[in-house]
């Protein structure tokens, strides 16, 4: 039966992709980004860290995105940077997804004191300007990639927790939850196995939006000099370094990493609806 279920899931995914061209484009772009992230260093023509004599060259056949002030190939650096930026954003989103789900389930299912404490705590996080909060966390914990991930996770957690809390709360009294109790499920099992999976469709929309924010956030922190440090290729740093050269006419240094960043955020934002339709059983026929 699981083989049948698997087959029906695959055909359902195929249906969602066929039905909505935007979803198809988004998933194609995502596949391209993943290929860059996994095989990046093997794909690019130059070593992203190697400097050369040909400095500040405009885009050409040899250097598609031009070269920077140390003569490094911008195209190679942009592609190689994909892995780091994706790792930061996926790591941060995964952490905040898990933390937000657990907090939201507790607040939504048990309510009462748990709900008050968790909700007010999350409200406090959201009361800060989130980027400034992330800056503060990285500055306090130390300037490392891991801390950028933790900081991004902290500022994203309230969004997940709120969605999960609302979804769990409206299903707390549903008939299938009562039936699950009669079937001998403990409260923990009911929340984890019966209620939470039904909150996944709206969560997927949140995930896709948050992935975009997380990428921007990571790049933003690097832009102001927190987190990733040069000479590591990273989109935020590259934009920051390139910004100095825009006035003197070397526009390609900032433009191409910026475009790539935009493309990544764009891809994640487009994924939302498609992901939701894929995990929603009611969309299946």
């Amino acid at each position: 039966m699981s083989a049948v279920a698997q087959h029906s899931f695959v055909s359902h995914v195929a249906y969602v992709l066929r039905q909505n061209p935007v979803t198809l484009i988004a998933f194609t772009l995502l596949a391209a980004l993943i290929v860059c992230a996994v095989f990046g260093p093997a794909l690019v023509p130059y070593d992203p860290l190697a400097s050369s004599d040909t400095i500040l060259q405009p885009p050409s056949a040899a250097h598609w995105f031009g070269t920077d002030h140390l003569g490094r190939d911008v195209f190679s650096r942009v592609i190689v940077a994909t892995r780091l930026d994706m790792a930061i954003s996926i790591g941060a989103v995964a952490l905040s997804f898990v933390a937000g789900s657990i907090l939201g389930c507790i607040a939504g299912y048990w309510g009462g004191w748990f709900d008050s404490i968790i909700s007010r705590g999350l409200d406090m996080i959201m009361a800060f300007p989130l980027f400034v909060l992330a800056m503060g966390i990285v500055a306090a914990l130390g300037n490392t990639v891991e801390n950028v991930i933790y900081a991004t996770a902290v500022i994203n957690t309230p969004f997940y927790a709120r969605v999960v809390r609302a979804e769990v709360n409206i299903r707390r009294e549903a008939g299938f939850v009562q039936a699950a109790k009669l079937a001998g499920n403990s409260d923990y099992r009911i929340v984890a196995m019966h209620i939470f999976p039904n909150a996944l469709p709206p969560m997927m929309v949140q995930v896709s939006l948050n992935m975009g924010w997380a990428v921007l956030n990571a790049a933003g922190l690097s832009f102001i000099g927190l987190g990733v440090r040069p000479p590591t290729p990273e989109w935020g740093i590259m934009v920051a370094e390139g910004a100095n050269y825009i006035i003197s006419g070397e526009w390609w240094l900032a433009l191409f990493p910026g475009l790539w960043l935009m493309l990544a955020v764009f891809t994640f934002n487009l994924l939302g609806d498609g992901l939701r339709d894929m995990v929603d059983p009611r969309q299946r026929l």
Binding site: A174, G175, A179, K181, A183, G184, S186, P281, R284, L285
Partner: protein, 536 residues
Amino acid sequence: MLTIKDLHVQFDTRHGVVDAVRGVNLHLDRGETLGIVGESGSGKSVTAFSLLRILDSGGRITGGHIDYRGIDLSQVDNASMNDIRGREISMIFQNPRAALNPIRKVGHQIEDVLRHHAQATRYDARAKAVAALEEVQIKDAASRYHAYPFELSGGMCQRVVIALALACKPQLLIADEPTTGLDVTTQKTVMDLIQALAQDRNMGVVLITHDLGLAGTYCDQLVVMKDGEIVEQGAPQKLTKNAVHDYTRRLLAATPHRGKQLHELVVDGVEKPIPPAGDILLSVNAVTKTYAGKAGPVQALQGVSFDIQRGGCLGLVGESGSGKSTLSSIIARLQDATSGDVQFNGASLFNAPASKYAKDTRRSEIQMVFQDATDSLNPRQTAAQSIAEPLRHLTTMNRLERNDRVEQLAEDVGLPLALLSRLPHQLSGGQKARVGIARALAVQPKLLILDEPTAALDVSIQALILNLLADLRHRLNLTYLFVSHDLSVVQMLCDTVVVMRLGQVEEMGPTEQVLSQPQSDYTRQLLQAMPTPLFA
């Protein structure tokens, strides 16, 4: 006034084009009431929706004419259609709560309609809205004008919806299952109201329902639909006496009325012997339940006591808010009583704390079938997974044994094995009800609580499910606690009746005795609301 000729409606779906209505012909005169009867999926609602051109996306009229007083409604442009909707033809929807805007006062909602169709000005709208509320017999209309929908009962909401529909004095009213989901007593008052208003205004009414009993009582003409086609039509008396089509006969048989036997509901039904009553299995003693409400404590149950004998079937009857559902969930230990005691098999159910109850042996001995089959199935679990759920937690069966048991249960409740791998939304209402029953039976309970298991089902499916329940009771030696608001169903299945009202027992006794010599006014009211035999 209204003539429909050879109407065809198609829907575009993921699996290609579906013909929802195939060549329907109808005729309705001024002041006449036409009943369209059929089960879900028969195309009766689609026919009505296409009159007002409010079909869901993907649906379109592909052929035929809808002639309303000389206008072809299938050709009219959208602007004129907007004028016709509400002013000429109006509609009452199935769920009155969903049809009202939850955050606007009901009076304002009526004013909106009046002013949209230029039936009132800013200055007299309020007076007219109050008058409209008075017309649907809402007491104290001037103060109800300020009420929000959530402050009104289901019956009241439906009256407001009727007031909304009739505010602009339409010539034709379409009522789509106007009383489904309402208590039987409320159902009768709402239908009487619609009938009286229609007569006063010489208005045409199209009543869409799955309940042949209801349609037969209130309609001048009946049309029976199946699979998008009309299978039979005529006056109710004629139709009930000489039904030609098999489907009409099946529907007629499935309609419950006073004095009907359970096996008469289905064609070729066999009478099931009633198991002999044994000792007392469940004893409810002075159970009370008090909720903390905003305006002080609410007493949902005020000292309820009764006994159920082993192998018996007790019917718990009452309208919504009578506390019957609260009581059944206390017996199933889904919530705790405030005081009182429930003895099961000689021991108090309350001697194990709620937190430990999941591991108690009595968890599997008392099982429940829920009111809304759709709501009670996890949307992410297949039918087989849902049925296996109690087996996984309450028994030590391994995977293979569970699969065997699930298949056996599916056979017991008449669910085709091929449907076991489907998700709830891929099943029909009757099939979902069967899954719910199979799940409750999985762990071989001694007592089965049935919380209005057929309230959301078509009469023809209800007939099958009720017979299935009677059959299972006989075969598996079960004891039933049957909760319902409908005496006509209870009288067929149950041997004892407890009538509840406002958290108290109004009357109890053997079914025959309660039906023939009702002691309380409320029981008499319930009896009056029961449909009378159509054949008489």
